[in-house]
Structure formats: C-alpha cells, structure tokens
C-alpha cells in the first residue's frame, strides 16, 4: 500500500509547480484568458515542449505512456495555477477519442500534430437538448456514396473558438438516445456548412455553439467503426471527468490555503478574523472536504488506472463529491474573504468560478448520485 508518487510523477509534479510559480502568475493567466484565443499559444507550445501534452498517450503514439494517476498529477497542478490552456479539450477529449479508435494514418494526421501543439481540436460532446446524457445524439450523418452528410447542432464545444479539427459524434442509426448507432467523425472546422458562434464562459475559458448544415465529410474522416462510436466517446469523457475532478481538488486545496492565510492577516475588532471560532470551524470543514475529496480522487484514479470494473462507479463517486465539496469550499472561501471575495480583482473569485463550472459539466452531483443510487 503506497500513496506516494513515483519518481517520474514527482518530477512531473515538480516541473509543473515550478512553471506555475515562475511563469504563470494570476495576472498572466488573466491576460491569456482575455486574449483573442483565450489562452497563450506560447504557453501551449511550452507544454508541448516539456512533454505535458504527451502524458496520457502510449509511446507508440508519441506519448509518455502515462495513465490516470499521471493525468491526476498534471491536472491538480493546473487547478492550482488556474490554467486556461485547452488541455481538457485537446488532450483529454479529442485525444481520448483519437488514441482509442484512430487508424495509424489518422493519428499521424491529427493526433501527433495535436500532441506537438500544432493542431487545435475540440470534441463536440454535448447536444443542446441532451443535458448530461452523452448518448442523446440527434445530429445525423447520412451516407452519400463514400461520403457522409452531417446535419445538426452541438453546444458548449470547448475550444470551439480555436479548433481546426472538431470530432463530432453523429447518429448513423437508431433512436435519439440509443448508445448504438453513434459514429465519430473528424470534421474540418472550416468546411462548408460549419458555422461557429464562440463565446467566453464564466470560468475564463471559451466554448462555442457549432452548427452543421449539409456538411460533407469523406470516408477517411470516420473514426472507428460505423455505429459503434459510443464506447470510445464514453471512455474519453470518463477520463476527462476524472481529469476535471483532479483539477477541482487542486483548486480546493489552494482555496483552503489562501483562506486560512487571509484569516490570519485580516484584522477586525483588533484581532485576526482567524481567531474567531465560528470561522475556525468552517475552515476545518473546508479542510475535511479537501481531504475527503483527495482520498476519493486517489481511489478513483487508481481504479481507473487498473481498468477496474468499479472504475465507472468510482468516477461517479468523485464527481459527486467534487460537486458537493467544491461548491462548499468555493462558497466558504468567498464568504471568509468577505467583500474582497466578491471582487473580480482577487484570484479567489476566479478559482470559485472554475469550481462552479466543473460542477456543471460531465454530470452534476445529482446526476452522478442517481447513477450511484441505482
């Protein structure tokens, strides 16, 4: 039994921590978030050069051969740094699909450039009517000779502003909520009939509504087998879910640390507010939420790493926990920071907003609790 990181993971953790500390302060983060792309292309290039974009891919695919625990190490630190670079969209989501079902030619065309930081991508995992049901896919793909014609709409396409490649789950057969009959297509974002409305999201990131009107896609752009794309789609989203939970736990730890620190320095009534028992107990509750979440995260990452049959349940458990605890820790951090906590100026609010966003995606706490109750 061992909960410590191995040598490679420790090095990875150290190098990311150093980078955040030296090159990614809150002001820079805000600047990147406000830029046209919504992230820094230089920083992204650095991630690629340092090998961080290669973490969850096999050596064969040009990766680092890492697993869920390595991704956890990366994402916890990205959480602490409130990183806005599109790691989730590229590496976890599109990457999660490509590594599972793409042919060697397709990997060479899309996966390798993505890992190298040269290709921006997105996975259109959500349909506007679907809430949290991944299988609810109304976007249709109909055969037209060797090609396919796509029609439909996708919402909240993360990195939709920058993506040159959009992976689109579309229905080739079956009813609207069937898991069978979903096929994955690699669509050129500049193809005729693709229209993209991008927007900023509350957490300083960016996404887009993407519409497909008679978009023609050739056969070489089909990822995996016709009609059986759901398994890879679902697995990629599971990995991504665990990744955002790791990010959330990183954020929770830093919010707790910053709040405790603030309470030691903020004087009211002639004493530090941290001397008030009413606040002390609330900060202890924050600690409890952080540690309980950390424990579940490690459990889920380990189960996922060994492809355990319980991994899905474990991922639902941590996503539920992060939904509940993340909200609590975020709200308490703001509350204990008082008026300063509700300003745009302080990083606290931005950590809180990212936690809130994580709570809203890939199934909220209620959604996952229902899965666990069944």
């Amino acid at each position: 039994m061992d909960f410590s990181l191995n040598e490679i993971q420790t090095m990875l953790a150290d190098s990311i921590e150093k980078f955040i500390e030296n090159d990614y302060d809150f002001e820079s983060r805000q600047k990147y978030s406000d830029s046209d792309a919504g992230y820094s292309t230089d920083v992204w290039q650095t991630f690629a050069e340092l090998g961080w974009t290669a973490v969850p891919f096999s050596e064969e695919d040009g990766g680092f051969d890492g697993g869920p625990v390595d991704v956890m190490v990366v994402m916890e630190r990205f959480g602490r740094g409130l990183v806005v670079e599109p790691y989730l969209a590229n590496i976890m989501l599109t990457g999660g699909i490509l590594k599972r079902v793409a042919t060697p030619e397709q990997k060479e065309r899309w996966l390798q450039p993505m890992i190298a930081g040269e290709l921006q991508t997105a996975l259109a995992f959500l349909e506007p009517q679907a809430r949290y049901d991944l299988a609810n896919v109304a976007t249709s793909a109909s055969a037209d000779g060797d090609a396919w014609i796509l029609n439909g709409s996708k919402g909240y396409v993360l990195n939709g502003r920058n993506a040159a490649l959009i992976v689109v789950p579309a229905r080739t057969s079956g009813e609207q909520t069937d898991q069978d009959g979903i096929t994955l297509f690699a669509v050129d974002a500049s193809a005729d009939g693709v229209s993209i409305t991008d927007y900023a999201t509350i957490d300083g990131q960016q996404a887009a509504e993407v519409h497909f009107k008679d978009v023609q896609v050739d056969a070489a752009a089909v990822l995996g087998d016709i009609g059986s794309g759901f398994a890879a789609f679902d697995a990629a989203v599971d990995d991504a879910t665990l990744a955002v939970c790791s990010e959330a736990v990183g954020i929770m730890h830093i919010l707790r640390d910053k709040t405790v620190e603030y309470s030691k320095n903020r004087m009211q009534f002639g004493v530090p507010i941290g001397s008030f028992q009413a606040l002390q107990h609330r900060m202890v509750d924050m600690l409890t939420d952080c540690e309980q979440s950390q424990s579940l995260l490690m459990w889920a990452a380990m189960l996922n790493a060994e492809d355990s049959p319980d991994a899905k349940r474990a991922i639902s458990s941590i996503k539920y926990q992060v939904g509940i605890s993340g909200r609590k820790v975020g709200e308490e951090a703001v509350q204990i920071h008082g008026g300063m906590g509700v300003t745009w100026e302080l990083d606290i609010a931005h950590y809180f907003k990212r936690l809130t966003a994580i709570g809203q995606i890939f199934g909220n706490a209620d959604w996952h609790l229902d899965k666990l109750a069944a």
């Binding site: 039994m1 410590s4 191995n6 309470s263 002390q280 202890v284 600690l287 424990s295 459990w299």
Partner: protein
C-alpha cells in the same frame, strides 16, 4: 501509487479470516446479528479467545506480549473483525490503560497489571470526565492529597462507561492546585474499585440503558505505588491515551458492514411492503453515505500508509474522528428511517436468546431508534467533535 497488499499481508488476511470463521464465534455473531445485547461475559470470552491466539494486544509491542503488528496488519484485523461481526474490544484495559502503563509505568507496575489486562482477567474503567469537567477536562476538581505513602482522593467522576462491571479504574486527579497552567498538577493513578469510599451510581441514558455511571470518591486511599509516572504529569499521559488509536476511531470497517446491510435489506420486502430500493430518495441517501464512507476509508488508508512508511500522520488523520462519527450517526438514522413505525416499540425484553413471546418488528427493527439515540454519544465522547475542530484549527491550520 497502489492499494495492493503484499503477499505477506494477504497471507495474514487469510489467517485472520480463518480465525473468525471458527465455529466458536457463531454464538456471539448470531447475537450481534439478531440484536441481542452482549453481556460482560461475551466480551470477556471473546477477548480471552483473542489472547489465546496472541492477538489481544493489537496495538501493543511484542515485548509486552502484544502483536507488534504493522499499521496495515491492524487495519486488516479491524476490517476482518468487523466483517465477521465480532464484538468490539472493550477499550479501557487493552487500548487505553495498557499502553499508558507500558509506556510510563515502572517495572513493578508493568508486571503487576499488564498480564491481567492481556488475559482480560481485570475489567478496567475510565475516570476522566467530571460533572463540571467535560470537554474542558483540565478543569477537573477531583483531588488527591498526599498523606505519607498514599493519596486521599475525593471527588466525582462521570460518564464512566461499563463502570458497573469494573474491577479497577484509572483516573486523573489534581495533586497540585498551585500551578501556572491548569494542565499541570494533574496525576494519573490506578485504583481497585473495591477500595472503601468508592461508590458507583448508575446513569440511565435516553435509550433506557445502563451503560454509564457516576463514580464517587470519598476519602479513598490510593497507594503511591499506583501512581503512574511522575506526579503532576498525568495530563501528558492521559493525552497519549486519547491520541492512541487515532486511526481506528473512525470505525470505517464497522460502518461499511452496516451500510452494506442496509443496501441488502432495502432490496427485500418486509411485511409485504414495496422494497425500499424502489424509493429513489432513500437509495440516494445510501449512495451519498457510501461515497462519504469510501472517502473516509481512503483517508484512513492514507494515514496508515504514512505511518507504515515512518512518516507522521498528515492533516488527513485529524478528521477521522469527526467524519467517522458523523457517518456512524447517519447510518443509524437510515436504519431508523427504514424501520418507519417499527422503530417505535420500546420492547428491549424480547432481545434475549430464549424469548418466547411475540417478537415485535422484523429482526432488530425496534432497536434502530435506540441505537440512534444511544449513538448521539459518538459525536460527544472522546473530545466532542467541536473540540476536535478546535484542535484541528490550532494544530493543523495554525489558527
């Protein structure tokens, strides 16, 4: 990062499982499962059985006859004991005063007391709290005045669990009132419960049970030979005792067994009713608790792993008592909710092995409310959960 056990640990787990599968545990297991309260003899028999196996001193070092087990082995033992519905070890001798005696006692005291503790020949009870000193233990008033080769002890101890069975008591008493800090001047001593001047008065708790007592000391003579360690240093010794078993206090293994039982029961139809498993609200509560408990289990494992690798337990360990007792109490609530009306009959007399009247309620349904009432104590004893939060705020968060 992994949670796999080594081959040796797996072999040990098999050994423990085999031990608890022995037929000699059937009777006590059946009692546990059918809600028949255990008697003093049940506990003593169980602990003697453990001792024959060399497993009574779970936390003790081998030089005093203990198991010398690693943190992981202790965890395995606790988990298997819970799964087997074995009784809990009565803590006062084996887990509380024993470690204080082998850590701070002199050789004569070790020889005199430790064997009887291991063999469960002597039933110990704890004299800490007082009517005026609960969470604020340092304000205790019981005084021990030195008179030649003995102390004269006067005062009252309270909440003394199972003190009605006790042969001996360990207590904290004030030997010096002229001190700079209230924690100084307190001494740790041992007394035979038959000593003239000691009287035991039952306290009936809200579930109608006689579990705790008030112990009065009136001019009780306690020999200086029964003082542990140095006079006036009792606070330090007593604190060690409270910190002992920090990792086991969470009771995660017992809670896990009880929660799994609720899931099973929810799938069954009782009295022809629709199974509770059809009630999504109820199942969501079970699921939420399962998540909390899994988190607790891993928080406990993280603590164990830190201890096993020679590190001090990190901040994660400090939350075990709070979270562990909260979860216990939530499980109690679920059991009571599941019983609905049948949580209400107050029919303790029927829980005996040879009861011949009509058994009211299915299984131990009517005990669910009593357990709920009784276990309000969990967030109060061992330093109330609010006191735990004070400690964490000070020592972990540095506030």
């Amino acid at each position: 990062m992994n949670v796999t056990f080594t081959d040796d640990e797996l072999a040990f787990r098999e050994e423990v499982r085999a031990f608890f599968q022995d037929k000699s545990f059937d009777e006590v297991r059946d009692k546990q499962l059918s809600g028949i309260p255990l008697k003093k003899d049940d506990y003593i028999q169980y602990q003697k059985r453990l001792n024959e196996q060399g497993w009574a001193g779970v936390n003790w070092p081998t030089e005093y006859g203990g198991t010398g087990w690693s943190a992981v082995q202790k965890y395995i033992f606790m988990t298997e004991a819970a799964k087997a519905h074995a009784p809990e070890i009565i803590a006062f001798g084996l887990n509380m005063v024993g470690p204080v005696i082998y850590t701070f006692g002199n050789d004569e005291q070790k020889q005199r007391f430790l064997p009887d503790i291991l063999e469960s020949n002597v039933w110990w009870c704890q004299g800490y709290s007082e009517p005026g000193a609960g969470s604020d233990l340092a304000s205790l008033k019981t005084r021990a005045d030195l008179a030649g080769d003995h102390y004269i002890v006067n005062g009252t101890k309270t909440w003394t669990t199972l003190g009605q069975h006790a042969d001996w008591i360990f207590l904290l008493a004030r030997t010096n009132r002229d001190v700079a800090r209230r924690q100084e001047g307190i001494s740790f001593m041992l007394a035979d419960m038959n000593t003239p001047g000691i009287s035991v008065k039952p306290i009936i708790t809200l579930d109608g049970e006689h579990e705790v007592n008030e112990i009065h000391f009136e001019d009780v003579k306690i020999s200086v030979d029964n003082l542990i360690g140095e006079e006036g240093k009792g606070w330090t010794y007593g604190k060690l005792l409270l910190q002992h078993e920090r990792t086991n206090i969470a009771g995660a293994a017992r809670s896990d067994v009880r929660l799994k039982r609720i899931r099973t029961q929810a799938s069954e139809s009782i009295r022809g009713a629709v199974p509770l498993a059809e009630d999504n609200n109820f199942m969501r509560k079970i699921a939420a608790l399962e998540v909390e408990l899994k988190a607790l289990e891993y928080t406990q494992l993280r603590t164990l792993a830190a201890v096993a690798s020679g590190k001090a337990p990190g901040p994660e360990s400090s939350i075990l008592k709070i979270k562990g007792t909260e979860i216990q109490q939530e499980i109690d609530t679920l059991h009571m909710e599941a019983a609905a009306y049948y949580a209400l009959p107050f029919v303790q007399d029927q829980y005996v092995a040879d009861y011949s009247g009509e058994h009211v309620g299915a299984g131990a349904e009517t005990q669910t409310s009593l357990r709920y009432f009784n276990f309000r104590k969990a967030s109060i004893y061992g330093g109330s959960n609010e006191i735990q939060k004070n400690i964490i705020a000070k020592h972990v968060l540095g506030l």
